[in-house]
């Protein structure tokens, strides 16, 4: 027998309920003092190294020493938007004046999905990849994933930052990584059965698709080696409780979710309670504003998330408009003091529609649809504009069980419309479509089809 016991982590660290208790439970006063120090450093850094920010600050008449408080930061540092960066990158590819480091520091390139527009290039330095990957680990640890677990990535290793960073996180945690690159859905299932990983990383809808394909193959993935599924890239088990139920049943596993924004960070790992995500305040500072007035909102109100990342020093993002609508809370029974976003992202400022005076959020509709018998997970929300009003129409594929009974399609549609009306006080048109007619996606599922005129929508998808 060897005289030294080999272990990735010692027993005291392994017994911890938190990945980093000191920071995850840090009192708000101390967190805010730390943010102020870091934000001042970041503003100075952006001023010194980023031509983009030097120009922006000059235009605003801002000097780094003007930032003396968090209020100063929120009010004086100009808001930025993805389109600012994309335009400059298009003028001078690949990064133009948005790059804040010499090219030799850039060790990894990613891009946003760009499904409805031009992708944003995202440069990462080595330090950035370490910080970005760490964000995942808080969530992994909180869910119960430990060294000794092994990760299966149902992911094609394209330029999607999210799952590359999950890989950086899995390495940090000390887990085996199994790549599903190059395999089709059946290939993923066979690889899982053969290699026996314990954690699945995928988009939530792709995890459900894998389960459906496995069932056609005569395989019940609830009996597989997978103990945890962890998701990002689209609304998942935290935003959509019905999806959690579907995922956990299909895989016989505990489902987790992380809210990330490719160019910012894997910024908000899931709360172990399963009802929200916690902002990783070691990597990101966030505040929320009313998108109509531009004013900061109070805790508990729904507002647009404005974020500043410490994790991307190659292309800093300060007071960055996410267009995500969140409801922030400062307290959570899980013990974390990091800001909590209840239900993760509740909707998008560009996809929020006001139907006859009522704000309708994407996830609210999705949650209701998931509860209607006969409505499958294949659906889309079509936004149009009629008589100066936003209109949302739901198109769904009926579940397999009623695929050959058309009379039940209309019944499901009518029930969905009634439930939406009862819960949200608006009547939406709900239409069944032929089974298999809506597109299928391996990465981000596109739920919103925005057919409104350009002036009523944002052109660039994240």
């Amino acid at each position: 027998m060897a005289s030294v016991q080999l272990s990735v982590l010692g027993p005291k660290a392994r017994a911890s309920r938190f990945w980093n208790k000191a920071t995850e439970t840090m009192p708000r006063e101390r967190l805010d003092a730390l943010h102020l120090h870091r934000l001042r450093g970041l503003v100075q850094y952006a001023w010194d190294f980023s031509p983009f920010y030097r120009k922006k600050f000059d235009e605003a008449g801002l000097k780094p020493q003007d930032i003396r408080s968090l209020e100063d930061f929120k009010r004086k540092v100009p808001l930025t938007d993805k389109s600012d960066f994309i335009h400059l990158q298009q003028e001078q590819p690949p990064y133009g004046p948005t790059l804040a480091l010499p090219q030799e520091f850039v060790t990894h390139h990613s891009e946003t999905s760009g499904t409805t527009g031009v992708p944003l290039g995202i440069p990462f330095s080595m330090v950035d990849t370490v910080r970005y990957g760490e964000s995942w680990v808080y969530g992994f640890w909180g869910l119960g994933i430990r060294p000794g677990d092994s990760f299966y990535f149902a992911f094609g290793w394209g330029n999607f930052a999210g799952f590359w960073s999950a890989y950086w996180g899995a390495r940090r945690l000390g887990c085996r990584v199994i790549s599903g690159g190059g395999l089709d859905t059946k290939g993923h299932i066979q690889a899982i059965l053969r290699l026996k990983p314990t954690v699945l990383i995928s988009t939530p809808t792709f995890a459900l698709r894998m389960a459906a394909v496995a069932a056609e193959m005569g395989v019940d993935l609830a009996n597989s080696s997978i103990k945890f599924t962890y998701h990002a890239g689209e609304p998942g088990p935290t935003a959509l409780p019905a999806m959690r139920a579907q995922l956990e049943k299909a895989w016989g596993a505990k489902a987790g979710e992380l809210l990330g924004i490719a160019e910012v960070d894997a910024m908000a790992p899931g709360c172990p309670n399963g009802d929200g995500v916690h902002l990783n305040e070691m990597n990101v500072y966030a505040w929320q504003l009313d998108p109509k007035t531009g004013r900061e909102i109070a805790e508990g109100e729904i507002g647009e998330n404005i974020v500043t990342s410490y994790a991307n020093t190659a292309q800093p993002l300060l007071n960055y408009r996410t267009h995500d609508l969140v409801r922030r809370r400062s307290k959570c029974s899980c013990g974390r003091t990091w800001a909590k976003f209840e239900g993760a992202v509740l909707g998008r400022t560009d996809f929020m529609v006001t139907v006859r005076g009522t704000n309708v959020y994407q996830t609210a509709v999705e949650n209701l649809l998931a509860e209607v018998p006969g409505v499958s997970m294949h659906y889309e929300l079509v936004l149009t504009r009629e008589a100066d009003n936003d209109v949302m129409t739901v198109r769904f594929e009926p579940e397999k069980a009623i695929a050959h009974r058309r009379e039940l399609w209309e019944k499901a549609a009518s029930e969905a419309a009634d439930r939406i009306h009862a819960a949200l006080h608006v009547r939406l048109e709900v239409k069944p479509v032929e089974p298999g007619s809506l597109p299928r996606y391996e990465l981000k599922t596109k739920r919103i089809v925005d057919q409104r005129p350009k002036e009523f929508r944002r052109a660039l998808d994240r």
């Binding site: 730390l34 120090h37 970041l42 330095s125 080595m126 330090v127 070691m282």
Partner: protein, 63 residues
């Protein structure tokens, strides 16, 4: 060990690594030492210490 003691140890380790890096004529060894310092800087950051945004900002312009 208290958190304060742990922070002091990590700061001391950084000092030693920076000494070993100074004037280094092996690209391999300098790259390894930079990597080690990056992790130590990250440890301080994750201990809630008010450190600079990137480890290289502490190196100055010598060597």
């Amino acid at each position: 060990m208290t958190t304060e003691d742990r922070v002091a140890c990590v700061k001391e380790a950084r000092k030693l690594i920076l000494s070993a890096m100074r004037g280094c004529d092996s690209p391999q060894i300098e790259a390894i030492l930079r990597s080690a310092d990056m992790e130590l800087h990250w440890a301080l950051w994750s201990l809630g210490e008010a450190v600079s945004l990137r480890p290289e900002l502490d190196y100055g312009n010598s060597d």
